[in-house]
Amino acid sequence: MYEPKVIGFLCTWCSYTGADSAGTSRLKTPWNLRAVRVPCSGRVAPELILRAFDQGADGVLVLGCHIGECHYDSGNHRAAKRIPLLLSILEFAGMQPERLRLDWVSASEGDRYARIVSEFVDALRPLGPNTWRINGAAPRADAAIGMPLPAASGLSGGAPCP
């Protein structure tokens, strides 16, 4: 079975401490997740997630405090507003939506942390490696897709030659 490579953005107050709590409780957590500690889930710019995928992450998990419990009052609100949009555009661009997840784990919820990470990794395994990362040139297949595409309108005045 493929072992996915997962980046976890963990907020320092809740989910990072929650991960700690999972550890001290000796809960089994998949090794696939590499944690990046951030002060708040609101700090996680969508561009960072995009970059993680570009660099070959198979999944990105963003964990913050529960809504209403943000150490910074409402930083997690902003994450909750932004990240669904990133997910939406990634899915639209062809990525499986299972590869990005935003969820909440409080400092005391070691069990929840372990459960979410396990769930996430379990969902990624059957998907196999992320094909998102491109090494070098893309296949220059003009995918045979029967849809009306705009003409290269700027040049449409070009000469009908020989």
């Binding site: 561009e47 609100h77 902003r78 909750a80 949009l85 639209f92 062809g94 893309a138 705009p150 700027g154």
Partner: protein, 297 residues
């Protein structure tokens, strides 16, 4: 009096009375192609035209005109005009609202000559007498600019049914793998000329994030990964801000359907947060708080 004449007269009046120091409108260039016109004197007003080929979103010039930043640090220390008149279609006028919300200029600095719009024609002018409306105009139901100081032309009383976005639905319905392949093949054509970005009124960062010297977010390589990051990142930055003028797609020499990305996110923002960019001068809700009824994922 034709609408073009009415527009010329409005432009002449505001220039002659000193209400504005500059008018941004449309004129006809070589080969009969309509293009942006920037005039400073009342007697130039006769150059202005209005037709179904005035597709450019002129608001892209507003910030530059008002700050005098024709380029970022002009050597010619010419005082920028205090107030600028601009010819706007309904879609363009929404861009004014977005820019107002983002503090790019104040409402008093803009005199909007609103045009009742019945849609722009597809393709090159004059060459196609029976030219059809652009697809975006067939989807659009706005006929009167949301921001205007004068309104020219009669908005049609009966509106045709807005057409559904078939292209968007088509791409959404593709299986993920095909969708990924489709987009890669589209992005692959990109030559990073940035015409899309430069034509966009919302893209007004001093230096684009995706073109920073430090190559922190994306390298300078003109390769598929970098191009995709640029296009997806730009779409994200336009979420809740894009007014759908489709200039990015129009100017693209490589025919990349950039508008699909923006439309997809605009629909997502509207369904998630009930926000349509530019209908009011308010910031994109993407930075804000969840409202009471929105629940966390």
């Amino acid at each position: 009096m034709s609408i073009s004449e009415a527009m010329q007269s409005a432009a002449r009046d505001v220039l002659a009375s000193g209400q504005v120091q500059r008018v941004i409108g449309y004129e006809t260039g070589p080969h009969g192609r309509v293009r942006p016109a920037i005039i400073d004197r009342p007697e130039e007003a006769e150059r202005l035209v209005w037709s179904a080929d005035c597709t450019h979103n002129l608001t892209v010039y507003l910030h530059r005109a008002l700050t005098g930043e024709n380029g970022r640090a002009s050597r010619e220390a010419v005082a920028p005009p205090a107030r600028v008149a601009i010819v706007v279609k309904p879609c363009d006028s929404r861009a004014i609202n977005v820019l107002l919300a983002e503090h790019q200029f104040s409402r008093e600095q803009v005199f909007a000559i609103g045009m009742a719009c019945e849609g722009m024609r597809q393709g090159a002018p004059a060459s196609a007498p029976e030219a059809t409306l652009q697809a975006r105009c067939l989807r659009c139901r706005e006929r009167v600019p949301v921001v205007h100081d004068v309104l020219l032309g009669e908005p049609p009383s009966a509106l045709p049914e807005a057409l559904p976005d078939e292209a968007l639905a088509h791409v959404r319905d593709l299986p993920p793998a095909e969708r990924a392949a489709f987009w890669l093949s589209q992005f692959d054509r990109c030559i990073r000329c940035y015409a899309c970005r430069q034509a966009c009124p919302m893209c007004n960062c001093p230096t684009c994030l995706f073109e920073q010297e430090d190559a922190l977010w994306v390298g300078m390589r003109i390769a598929p990964s970098e191009k995709r990051t640029f296009h997806l990142g730009r779409a994200l930055h336009l979420a809740g801000r894009c007014v759908g003028c489709n200039e990015c797609e129009r100017v693209c020499p490589m025919g990349i359907p950039i508008g699909l990305l923006n439309r997809h996110l605009a629909e997502t923002v509207e369904s998630l947060y009930g926000h349509r960019a530019g209908m009011q001068p308010v910031l994109s809700p993407v930075t804000g708080m969840l409202s009471a009824e929105e629940s966390a994922p």
